[in-house]
């Protein structure tokens, strides 16, 4: 790897760190609610990774007004707006599944669920 030449690249790199934390929580923690929270962290880091390159120095929010010439890119905003909606839908459905799993198994820990399923 050639290293990060421009200090402004570090802003993107920091978002990757956020993503790694989210991924780690999803994979490593056994609690289903914690997993969903980690999924949320992962999702929001993706939002930043999309929107950060759309920012233009000296630019303004993409709402056309008199006397403003430079706007940030509106396209990532549209995509991420949809992604947030899908994100909250995922969260709600996932939490509903967690509730049902807890009712059936009496636990929301992954390994305990697997234990209960194992012998049967």
């Amino acid at each position: 790897m050639s290293g990060l030449p421009n200090p402004l690249h570090w802003l993107h790199a920091a978002v990757v760190v956020l993503m790694v934390i989210g991924l780690y929580v999803v994979v490593a923690r056994g609690n289903l609610i914690k997993k969903l929270v980690g999924l949320g962290v992962f999702q929001t880091s993706v939002y930043l990774l999309y929107i950060a390159p759309g920012k233009v120095f000296g630019g303004s929010a993409p709402i056309i007004a008199e006397g403003i010439t430079v706007y940030s890119n509106p396209l990532p905003h549209v995509l991420i707006l949809t992604a947030i909606v899908v994100g909250i839908a995922t969260l709600a459905l996932g939490l509903a599944l967690v509730v049902r799993i807890h009712e059936e198994y009496g636990t929301i820990e992954e390994d305990e669920i697997l234990d209960r399923d194992g012998p049967a």
């Binding site: 709402i63 707006l81 709600a92 939490l95 509730v99």
Partner: protein, 139 residues
């Protein structure tokens, strides 16, 4: 637990009309500033949730009955899809707004308006339905 939550009750009573009014502002000002159907829908749902939190779920269900919510959830999608079919009927493509009005720019504005209304209806009712489902389920 005497005089349960008198202060939150009063303040929430004051806040909820502002929330609903503000949701309307966000909805209809969404073409000129930040906002739109989705944000307004979430704010409407928030007002219902706040009411349910403070005054109890049964009270919230009395004011916004679940039957109404169950009608509204698909209604929003139907409105959105209906805008598309309106474009078809007017002789254009699906979701083509230019043909909705003799003046194409007005057609666009009309199409965007109804689409946002559809999004508002779906989002607000779905969020309320999800809240009802979660908080209505006994342990």
């Amino acid at each position: 637990m005497m005089h349960r939550e008198a202060i939150p009750r009063v303040v929430v009573k004051l806040l909820i009309p502002f929330l609903l009014l503000y949701a309307l502002y966000v909805q209809f000002h969404g073409e000129l500033g930040p906002g739109g159907g989705f944000q307004a829908g979430v704010i409407v749902a928030t007002a219902v949730i706040l009411y349910g939190l403070i005054f109890g779920l049964a009270e919230a269900k009395r004011i916004v009955p679940p039957r109404l919510i169950e009608v509204l959830v698909p209604l929003g999608v139907v409105i959105y899809a209906g805008v598309g079919f309106a474009g078809l009927l007017a002789g254009g493509n699906y979701l083509d707004y230019f043909v909705l009005d003799p003046d194409p720019v007005h057609g666009q504005e009309r199409g965007i308006f109804w689409v946002e209304v559809g999004v508002l209806v779906t989002v607000s009712s779905t969020m309320t339905a999800i809240y009802y489902a979660f908080s209505g389920r006994g342990r």
